[in-house]
Structure formats: C-alpha cells, structure tokens
C-alpha cells in the first residue's frame, strides 16, 4: 500500500531477526508459566481458607475443658434436609403409645370406636359425633361378632358386619369390663385377637389401637362379685402382650383418669364404673395426645 501517497506515515516494520524471535518467544512462555503457577497457588490457598471448621463446643460432661479443634473437613457441611436418615428403630408394640403432639377432633373423622357402655358414654359426653361409634351396653369380645345391635341404614347388624360396610382408617377398641366375670383370661384374649385379625382382614392399612380397660372405683372393686381391679390389671397385661404379638398400638388410657392407688376416683363415676362427663373429657384429651399418625 502506498501510504506516502495518502500522506500517512508508513507503519513501522517489526524486527524479523530469528534469534531475537526465539528469545522473545521464550520470555513469553516463561511469563505464561509464571502466571499459571501464581493462579494455582492462589486457588489452593483460597480453598484451604474456606474449608476450615469452627471448633466444637465444650461437652456437657466436662464444661471446663476447652473445645476440641477438629481437623478441617474436605467437604462443606450438608444442609439438614440432605443428612442421612436416622437408622430405623423398631417400635415396641408392648409399650404404651408415647405422648405426642395433640391432634384436633378432626383426627377422629375416620375413626371407629368399638366398645361397651363406657365407650358409649365417651362419645356422647364429649360430643365426638364426627367419629363412628359401634358401641352397645354390655358388648363383649364374642358378641362383637354375633349380636345385631348396630342400626345402620334401617338394618340391625353386628359390630363386625357394620364395620365391613364402613370406610375407616383407625379403630379404637375398649372391651373387657363385662368379661371380668369370665373364668378364663385365655378365652378373652383369644377372642380379642380374633377381633384384631378381622379388622385387619377388612382393612389391612387401618391403625388399630387397643385401649386398656379402665379400672373401677375401690368401692366397686371391693364389693362387686366379679368386677375387680386386680383382674382388670391382669387382663391389661395380657392386652399389652397381645398388642406386641399382633403389632397394634396399646394406649394406657387409665393414666388419664385413675388416682394414685390405681383405682377410679369416687367422684369420677356415679356407680364407680361409668365415667362422668368430666372424666370422659380427660379420656378424650389423653387419646388426642397419644396418637401414632
């Protein structure tokens, strides 16, 4: 290009001496290597500074000891939701259901209560109309299958037959006060087990609660011909074993209503057996704070 004709100064030409070109190239390579080494060193130093951990707090056993300095971990701590789950701890079905956060009354929307006159009193005195009650005065573990005492859609059905026509997710059982007159506890437990097996057959997914038999007053226990608190205690022990065998839940509802000597207080029931409204409410409150799901 003829720069002189355009009145512009011609561009300066670079020195094409091969020796000088080699020197220049070598210097560039050395400079590049230095830059890369410096960057790498900077990155490593930065990573080491971020991964250093806080020292552990002093242990409760020995608060005077200085906190231990843990070595820096290679990975940052994971957020709680990413932590590995606790190993499964098997549920002890022989133990009573532990205390839990109180549920509302709607928890019982899909619950069926099966029981005798005491359970009838629970449902009527607490206004638990959202639950289904298959209850009857004098109901026992054998008449649950045989006695047609449940009014359902204009028909009279046994408790089990009525249950077959019911949508439910939970069953609360309390039977046994009327069977304290039975001579053989084994027969009582065997029949109780049949009820659980049948409920499972009707709805394998149902949560089944065995409520222990609530004791009676000391006056009733000492004067009644067969309703005795020591018999009730024996039967409750067998029910806890049954819960373990069948893997259903056992609720020690007596804890809600009995006095220190383990009997029903005299003011809890007019006849020492059927709970008054105040004690029915205590019973319900206990159920609300002892659920499994």
């Amino acid at each position: 290009m003829q720069y002189y004709r355009m009145g512009l100064a011609a561009p300066k030409r670079r020195n094409l001496n091969p020796r000088k070109r080699r020197i220049r190239r070598r210097r560039l390579c050395l400079l590049l290597a230095a830059v890369l080494l410096f960057s790498a060193a900077l990155g490593i130093a930065s990573a080491c500074a971020q991964s250093g951990r806080e020292p552990a707090p002093p242990s409760a056993a020995d608060p005077e000891q200085p906190p231990a300095a843990d070595p820096p971990s290679r990975e940052p701590p994971r957020p709680p939701e990413d932590r590995l789950p606790e190993p499964d701890v098997p549920y002890l079905y022989s133990e009573p259901v532990p205390v839990s956060e109180a549920v509302g009354l709607s928890y019982f929307d899909d619950a069926v209560f099966i029981g005798d006159s005491r359970t009838e009193g629970l449902l009527l005195n607490t206004g638990l109309t959202n639950a289904t009650g298959y209850v009857h005065k004098g109901l026992m573990v054998d008449t649950v299958f045989t006695k047609k005492v449940i009014n359902k859609n204009g028909r009279k059905l046994s408790v089990i037959d009525a249950l077959r026509e019911t949508d439910f997710a939970k069953v609360y059982l309390m039977l046994g006060i009327n069977e304290t007159g039975w001579p053989y506890s084994s027969v009582f437990i065997e029949k109780y087990g049949e009820i659980i097996d049948t409920v499972r057959e009707i709805n394998p997914e149902a949560v089944i609660y065995i409520q222990e038999i609530i004791p009676v007053s000391e006056k009733v226990s000492s004067t009644h011909s067969y309703v005795k608190n020591d018999k009730i205690a024996e039967r409750n022990g067998l029910l806890a074993n049954l819960a373990a065998e069948k893997q259903v839940y056992y609720i020690d509802v007596s804890a809600a209503v009995v006095s220190e000597d383990g009997s029903l207080p005299e003011d809890a029931a007019t006849d020492g057996i059927h709970l008054k409204k105040e004690y029915c409410q205590k019973w319900l409150d206990y159920l609300k704070t002892h659920t499994v799901m």
Partner: protein, 150 residues
C-alpha cells in the same frame, strides 16, 4: 237454618283458631328441661349434649330446637325436649322418641334390670309441635311437664 249454619261455622272457626294457637304458641324447651332437672330427683349426673348429638341419639334430624340431658350410663335417666315445625313433624318425632325408650328398655333389661323398670314409667308425650321425654325415679315428671305446657 241460615243462623244455625253461621253458628256452626263460627264454632268451627274458633276451634281451628285455638288449635293453631296451641301449635304456634312458643314454649321455652330449655327452661322446661332445666325445671325438670332441678325439680325432680335423679340418681345419676345429667349433662347436656349438643343438638347434633341429641338428634343422632333420638334419630330426630328435623327439630327446630332440642334440649337433651343424658346420664353417665350408670342409669337410664334422661330428659329430652324437642320443638318441631308443626304437628305432623312432632308426631313422627314422638314415634322416634318412643322407639328410643323401647330400645333402652331392651338394652337395660339384660344389663341393669332395675333400669328397665324405671323405663317402664318413662314420660313420652307430645304437646302440639313439642315432644318431651323424661326418665326418672321421680313420679312427678308427668305433672310438671303438663303444668309447664299448659
């Protein structure tokens, strides 16, 4: 003849009017139930239930108002008062109430026989569009109810 017809028509009108008045006259069933509970002798603790429970217990789901007191289950003692919309509804409610007492009698006969005797003396009556039930050991229930409903 015309005077006789006018006289008969007048008498009929008075009878119809008084019948309607009897059906529409307002009765405080809560006050009635309270009076029974406080005046009569009961052996068990009687506690009130809400109207939904009362309706389910007696299978009376069309009551305008209801007031029911139940026992703990130790006895068959009970007080129930229902206000229905008219005499026809009250008649059906009366049948339901009678059915409830009959069932209670059957249940208690095997469970606590002495309560079955008490149920034999239960007061179950209809007054216009009101139905009243009272199961107590006290024989004065019928008189108190009649005096209150007049």
């Amino acid at each position: 003849m015309r005077k006789l017809a006018i006289l008969i028509a007048s008498v009929l009108c008075v009878m119809i009017a008084s019948g309607c008045a009897a059906e529409t006259e307002q009765v405080d069933i809560k006050e009635l139930a309270e009076t029974l509970r406080e005046t009569l002798r009961f052996e068990d603790e009687l506690t009130p239930v809400d109207e939904k429970t009362a309706g389910a217990l007696y299978q009376i789901d069309d009551a305008v108002r209801s007031c029911v007191y139940i026992s703990s289950g130790a006895t068959a003692e009970e007080i129930a008062a229902f206000e229905l919309k008219d005499g026809g509804a009250a008649e059906k409610a009366l049948e339901k109430a009678q059915g409830r007492i009959a069932e209670q009698r059957e249940n208690f006969a095997l469970y606590i026989p002495e309560e079955a005797d008490r149920l034999e003396r239960a007061v179950v009556e209809r007054f216009g569009r009101y139905v009243v039930v009272c199961v107590s050991a006290d024989g004065a229930a019928g008189e108190i109810i009649s005096d209150f409903m007049e």
